[in-house]
Structure formats: structure tokens, C-alpha cells
């Protein structure tokens, strides 16, 4: 197992390195930020001068070597669009991103899990069908649409919640719902099939025969055994959330990493984009590694490949 972990860990690091290299070069395929930093009246000479000041006129491989050197020293670089250190910029957004991810996961789990259990326990009845329909309906509208509808209804017409921005718990509610709705359906479905599987197992029948009530059975036995697929899905859902957050953050003016990524790409702020991708790559790749390990624990038919 240890050998497996070390090898996969090493491969994960190589994969992260690969992502960042790929992103480094493909970004520069699309030009650079000088045109956006300068006024329209800038002449070609002005543009070249700015490029030289920013160090963007050096050959790409030279810039790449510098970049690698910086990473090795844990220096994420400096954004010339925002005139601040990249670490500062990202660090200021991480709390918001974590809040939003936590909020969305909370919505997805707190509503999705019970609904999934409900659907499993009432599998033959129409309740199950209608619940599934409702759950799938949550996944059937684009987030930018459901976002603005919520803002209008709860922010403008009813004035129950703040219409945009961040700061209090109330600000977190609507963005979390908008983002969590997508994952909700996934969790509900996974929970339902996991619980349905468990329901068919022998220990359930023997527990029922012993007179264990539904409630105790769900909490004590079923959930614990159903937890494994739910956990492995969470690893994938987290990276999904980071991607889906882009639109939610734009609509709700939620200053997280998603919005930062979009704005930095639009401004060709390479340094920030690279840093965000590096961070995201770490999270995704190591989360997938964790999911793979869990998967192999769950299904002993899968022999871990070690090379």
C-alpha cells in the first residue's frame, strides 16, 4: 500500500506539473495583457515598451524557466494587472471560496441525502417518483438563470435576503443554493442507489426480523455502509463545484476564486491564472487519488496497479 501511495503521489505531482506547464504555454498562445493595460491611444512603440517593462518580450522558454524557479521557491509571482503579489490576491479569495463550497456542499448533503434515503425507502410508491422528478428538476435550469430569479424574488420583491455581495451569513444563502442545487441531484441519486443496494442485503432482513425499527436501521446501519460511495463522489463533486462556482460568483458578485479566474483570463493576467490552476490541480488530482484509494478499498476485485 505504501508503495502504491508513493508511486501515485509521485505521479500526481507529475500530473500537476503537466497541467501547469500546459496552461503556461496555451495561455501565451492567446496574446498578452499589454493591449488591455494601455489606453486605446497607445502606439505600437508604447506597447513594445510596456512589454519590455513587464518582461513579456523575452523568449517563452526563458519566461518558463523563471516561472519554474519561482515555483521551486514557493513564489507565486506578481500580478502586473493588479500590482500585488499573487499569493495576496489568492489568499484574500480563499475564505470566500471555502465558504461557498461549504455552503453548497451543506445544501447538497442536507437536502440530497435525506431525499435519497426517502426515495430508497419508498421505492415502490409514487412518492419516490415525484421526489426524483423534483430532484432532477433542480438540475435542469442553468445557474445564471436560477440565480437571477432568486435575487429578484428574495432580494428585490420580498427583500428577505441581500441581493448581492458578501459579508454576512445571509449573503451566503442564495449563492449556496444556486451552486448546491446541481450537486443535490447527484447526492440524492447516489444515496438512493446505495441505500437500495443495502436494503437488499441479508443483514437488513435479519435486523428487521429482530424487530429493529426503520429509523434506527437507517441511522445505525444503512448510512454507515452507504457512506463510502458518498465520500468518493464528494471528491469529484468538489472539483465540479469549483468549476460551477464561476457563474454563481459572477451573478452574485461573490468574490471567490471562480470569479478571479474568469476576470484574470479576460485580462490575460497569466500569473494569477497559473497560480489558481496550480491550486485547483492540486485539489483535483489529490482528491481523485483519494477517491481511487477508496474505490480500491471498496471493491476488492480491483487490484491496485503498481509500477
Amino acid at each position: 500500500m505504501l508503495r502504491f501511495l508513493l508511486q501515485r503521489g509521485g505521479q500526481a505531482l507529475i500530473a500537476v506539473f503537466g497541467v501547469v506547464t500546459l496552461v503556461f504555454f496555451i495561455q501565451r498562445l492567446t496574446g498578452d495583457p499589454t493591449a488591455l493595460l494601455l489606453p486605446e491611444t497607445a502606439t505600437q512603440a508604447d506597447i513594445e515598451a510596456m512589454r519590455a517593462t513587464l518582461g513579456l518580450d523575452r523568449p517563452m522558454w526563458a519566461q518558463y524557466i523563471d516561472f519554474l524557479g519561482d515555483i521551486a521557491r514557493f513564489d507565486l509571482g506578481r500580478s502586473f494587472v493588479q500590482n500585488a503579489s499573487v499569493w495576496e490576491i489568492i489568499a484574500s479569495r480563499i475564505p470566500e471560496t471555502l465558504q461557498l463550497a461549504a455552503g453548497a456542499l451543506a445544501i447538497a448533503l442536507l437536502i440530497g441525502l435525506p431525499l435519497g434515503v426517502l426515495m430508497a425507502l419508498t421505492a415502490q410508491k409514487p412518492v419516490s417518483r415525484w421526489t426524483m422528478g423534483l430532484v432532477l428538476a433542480c438540475q435542469s435550469m442553468p445557474t445564471f438563470w436560477s440565480g437571477i430569479m432568486m435575487i429578484l424574488v428574495f432580494g428585490v420583491w420580498l427583500r428577505w435576503l441581500p441581493s448581492s455581495g458578501t459579508g454576512t451569513f445571509a449573503h451566503l444563502i442564495m449563492p449556496s443554493i444556486a451552486l448546491g442545487l446541481l450537486s443535490l441531484a447527484t447526492y440524492a441519486r447516489i444515496t438512493r442507489s446505495a441505500v437500495v443496494d443495502e436494503l437488499g442485503k441479508d443483514y437488513v432482513r435479519s435486523a428487521r426480523a429482530r424487530g429493529v425499527g426503520t429509523g434506527r436501521m437507517v441511522c445505525k446501519h444503512l448510512m454507515r455502509n452507504s457512506l463510502i460511495p458518498i465520500i468518493s463522489i464528494t471528491a469529484l463533486e468538489i472539483s465540479q463545484l469549483l468549476a460551477g462556482a464561476v457563474i454563481v460568483e459572477t451573478v452574485f458578485a461573490w468574490p471567490g476564486l471562480g470569479l478571479l479566474t474568469v476576470q484574470s483570463i479576460a485580462a490575460r493576467d497569466f500569473v494569477v491564472v497559473q497560480a489558481v490552476v496550480l491550486l485547483g490541480a492540486f485539489v483535483t488530482i489529490f482528491a481523485n487519488l483519494a477517491a481511487d484509494i477508496l474505490y480500491s478499498i471498496v471493491d476488492p476485485r480491483v487490484r491496485l496497479s503498481g509500477r
Binding site: 494601455l38 491611444t41 502606439t43 513587464l54 493588479q82 484574500s92 441581493s163
Partner: protein, 497 residues
């Protein structure tokens, strides 16, 4: 979390004035379309940053609400020779840290922004200033040859305190700027908002608001919702249809003003079909400018027939408006249908009003052209329109702004063959533009620009469309006069209850 605590403290601090009897303590919340890139006035070229830092720093000169240049840090000025300008510096101005603003600070600011190593994006607008010196309370600026746009450019030059910048360095200064303006920097919650507090020892008109919060709200629909919900008192960058929705409410109102942005359709004169002057004329005849400004935009836009507007020096009121005659357009394209049907792309970016782009495409296609829209993000769009004419798209739609209100800033880059924006290469035009750029005599300049505009009109070198108007959404009781250069001075606003 930190923000919860911060906002609770801010809320408590903001709430305190509500419970006092003072009617003066008031705050304003403004929704911007993004967050400021920097607070250092010399380090960027970005309207969002400008909205905020313009209240923290004073500039050498400024424009009043009618657009006339008036003094701010400079009280009077004198053009002593073709190459030198003398500015008398105001006395009694202090920075937010209590130190006095000296003429040496003005010299320092000029030298900082013209220093190549500093890398200011605005260098191109000030690099004709080769020297600055102070003697007593007079600062003398020396330019490399006559520079008629100098006054207009000085409207944008902010004065930074030498002693602070030298002591803390550029990065620290950006994080905690100190100026001499009506509002002092208080807090910058990156990505979220910037907070300013009133400078009670300001030399000029003090602001009416105790605190001003500038929030970053990227989505236009959300900004409108914020205004309707009462979360914001003033929102920027909304379009006329959004404004129409606000018109029916009594709590909010729409403010508009014509700006110095001119919307135009650039034509590639090197590629078919627009290398043929008749086709260019047909394109112009096919566009219903009034239909666009009054049927679609409805915010006070005015059709233009020149690369200038009434807000610019160098505007020629005698240039005839472009005609709209669809039948005449069709007659021209009908005479040469193959050339007219050459596939042409209209390059644009999401930041421009897409209704206009689509309307233009429809109008041109109705006249027999074959135009398809190619929308890409801003940097890609800039790359396309600034490339060689052979790689450039046949058409582009954009809005030009130089923030200088001088025809030199708009006609020269769009029409002079040296400019990488220009797809025009006409020696007479180049000569006229250079004359206007190098003369300090207003009459000579106006004459040259009159000829430029008439040539463009006669030959359809490019197709100006309209003078853009800017729309703001505001609370009904907010007094704010929008200006042509889209300034947002907090101390010129008021919000009586």
C-alpha cells in the same frame, strides 16, 4: 470569519449615525462593474480604478460639470513659449497625513509618470513632457515641441506625495494610498469593495457623505437588482432597456449624459468588398443611425458623421449627417452583386452592446452584403483589430474613447497610417492630422480637423455611428450630474432626505 466581523463592525459604525440627530452623517454605496485594478493613479489605465481613486487624489487641472478645464492643484497657467507651460500651484493644500502639498510633489508626480522604468500605462499620454521643475510656487513643464493636448492631459495627472511614496515604495502605496482629495482611503477588501471616508480638512468643497463604499458587481442584471433592492445608491454601466425597467419606479431614477465616446464601424480598406469606395458608400446608406439611436438605444445618443463629438475640441458642426437610403444602397450592391456578397466578418467583443452589432449586421445584409458576426473576448478582439490589414477583419464595431475630449485623441489613432488601429493610408489625411497635432493655434487646428472630417465623410474611410451616452441608475433623491468624461466626484453629489 474575518469578513463577518468586519462587516458587523462596519454595520455598527454605519448604524451609529442613524441613531444620532445629525442629518449630515450619511453614506453612499456605489456598484461598479468590476473592482479597481490599483489605487496608484500612475499605475493603470482603467475606468473602474479611476472612479475610485479620483476622489482620493487631486489632479493638476480638472473639468467642471460643463466640461470646461478649470484649475485644481494649479490655480492658473501660462503658456510662456511653444514648449513651456508655467503652472501656479495652490497654497494651503494638505495630504491626508497632514503634510503640505508642495510644488515639489507636482514635479515628483510628473517625473514619476514619465519615467520609462516605472512603466506607467499612461506614459504615452505624457511622454511629450521632457522636464519639470519648481521655483517658488510655480512649476514649469517643458515639452518636446508644441503639444496642444497638454492641458487636456493634465486633467488626468494626479499628484502623489513624494515623502510617502519614497518612504513606503510603490506596492505599499498601492495598498494604502494617500492623496489630497476630498476623500481618504480607508479600506480595500480585495475583490469585494473599497471604502473611503470624508476628508474633513479638504481645501475645496467637502463631500456630503461620511463614508463611500464602492462595490464590485460584475453582472449588469445584479447591479439593477441591487438598486431596486436598496442595496446600492448608484450603479454604473446599465443599458437603456434596463433603464426602462427602472423608469416605472418612484424610488429610483435614471441619469444620462452624452459622453466623449464615439461608436463607429471600422472598415478594412485593403480587402474586398470595402476596398471599393462605392461599396463603402452603400454600407453607410444601409445603416439607419436614427433607428439605432432612437429606436434601440434611447438614452440620448446622437448620430455622428465624424470621428469626434460635440464634447471634443475639433468637432465640426457643419459636416452633413450620413444619409439613410436602403434603396440607394441596394442599387449600388445590385450593380455588383458578387463583390457585395463577399463574405465579411464583423469583429466585436462582449463588452459592446450586442443589440447594435446584430442590428448593424441585419441592416447590411438587407442591403445585399454578406456579413457574419465574430465575437471573441476583448484581448482577442484587440489583437484582431490592431493587426495588419491583411489579417484584419473586414469590419469591426467599437467605441472609441481617449478621455481627453480633444479630436487628436480620436482622429489620429483611427485615421493616421502610423497607428496600429488605423486601416487608412491617405497621405493628405496624415498631413492634416500631423499639422493639427503640432500647432498650438486653436484656429489652425480647427481648420485642419474640419478638413479631416470632411474627407472622411466624402470618402467613407470609416463609418462613425453615434456619440454614446452613459446611463446610471440612482436613488431618486441622489443629486448627481453625469459628465461627458464620466467622472464621479463624490464632493459634487448630494443626497438630501
Amino acid at each position: 470569519m474575518k469578513h463577518c466581523l468586519q462587516s458587523m463592525v462596519t454595520a455598527a459604525a454605519l448604524a451609529v449615525p442613524l441613531f444620532t440627530t445629525s442629518a449630515m452623517a450619511q453614506d453612499i454605496t456605489i456598484d461598479l462593474a468590476g473592482e479597481p485594478a490599483t489605487m496608484d493613479p500612475h499605475k493603470q489605465w482603467n475606468p473602474t480604478s479611476y472612479y475610485v481613486y479620483r476622489n482620493i487624489f487631486d489632479n493638476v487641472l480638472t473639468r467642471d460639470n460643463d466640461g470646461t478645464i478649470v484649475g485644481q492643484i494649479a490655480t492658473s497657467w501660462n503658456q510662456t513659449t511653444n514648449n513651456t507651460l508655467e503652472l501656479t500651484i495652490r497654497e494651503g493644500v494638505t495630504f491626508h497625513d497632514g503634510e503640505a502639498l508642495e510644488p515639489s510633489d507636482v514635479v515628483y508626480s510628473v517625473k514619476r509618470i514619465t519615467n520609462k522604468d516605472f512603466g506607467s500605462p499612461q506614459l504615452g499620454q505624457f511622454n511629450k513632457i521632457v522636464d519639470a521643475s519648481a521655483a517658488g510656487n510655480v512649476v514649469t513643464l517643458t515639452t518636446d515641441g508644441p503639444y496642444p493636448a497638454l492641458m487636456a492631459q493634465l486633467v488626468k495627472l494626479s499628484i502623489v506625495p513624494e515623502h510617502v511614496v519614497e518612504a513606503v515604495g510603490d506596492d505599499e502605496f498601492n495598498a494604502a494610498p494617500i492623496g489630497s482629495g476630498a476623500y481618504a482611503f480607508s479600506d480595500w477588501d480585495r475583490g469585494v469593495s473599497v471604502t473611503l471616508t470624508r476628508n474633513d480638512s479638504y481645501w475645496g468643497d467637502k463631500g456630503p457623505f461620511e463614508t463611500a463604499i464602492f462595490r464590485a458587481v460584475p453582472d449588469a442584471a445584479t447591479r439593477v437588482a441591487d438598486l431596486q433592492a436598496g442595496t446600492a445608491d448608484l450603479v454604473v454601466s446599465i443599458d437603456s432597456d434596463a433603464a426602462a425597467q427602472l423608469a416605472s419606479s418612484t424610488e429610483v431614477k435614471v441619469l444620462s449624459a452624452p459622453t466623449e465616446r464615439v461608436a463607429y464601424m471600422g472598415l478594412n480598406l485593403d480587402k474586398p468588398p470595402f476596398n471599393d469606395p462605392k461599396m463603402r458608400r452603400a454600407a453607410s446608406l444601409a445603416i439607419d443611425r436614427l433607428g439605432i439611436t432612437e429606436g434601440l438605444l434611447q438614452a440620448g445618443e446622437i448620430p455622428m458623421a465624424q470621428m469626434a463629438s460635440p464634447a471634443h475640441f475639433g468637432y465640426n458642426p457643419d459636416v452633413a449627417a450620413f444619409e439613410y437610403d436602403l434603396d440607394a444602397a441596394k442599387a449600388i450592391t445590385g450593380a455588383n452583386p458578387d463583390l457585395a456578397a463577399t463574405p465579411a466578418t464583423l469583429a466585436t467583443a462582449p463588452v459592446f452592446d450586442q443589440r447594435i452589432v446584430q442590428a448593424l449586421q441585419q441592416m447590411l445584409n438587407d442591403a445585399g452584403f454578406n456579413i457574419s458576426i465574430s465575437m471573441s473576448d476583448m484581448p482577442t478582439y484587440l489583437g484582431i483589430v490592431r493587426s495588419d490589414p491583411s489579417e484584419n477583419s473586414e469590419l469591426s464595431f467599437g467605441r472609441w474613447s481617449c478621455a481627453c475630449q480633444d479630436a487628436d485623441g480620436i482622429a489620429y489613432p483611427v485615421l493616421h497610417s502610423d497607428s496600429n488601429w488605423s486601416r487608412v493610408n491617405v497621405p493628405e489625411l496624415d498631413a492634416l492630422l500631423e499639422t493639427a497635432r503640432a500647432s498650438l493655434d486653436a484656429a489652425v487646428r480647427q481648420e485642419a480637423y474640419n478638413n479631416v472630417h470632411q474627407m472622411v465623410r466624402d470618402n467613407y474611410y470609416t463609418l462613425p455611428l453615434y456619440q454614446a451616452a452613459v446611463l446610471y441608475g440612482a436613488k431618486s433623491n441622489l443629486n448627481f450630474v453625469p459628465t461627458a468624461n464620466e467622472s464621479m466626484f463624490l464632493n459634487r453629489m448630494s443626497m438630501p432626505n
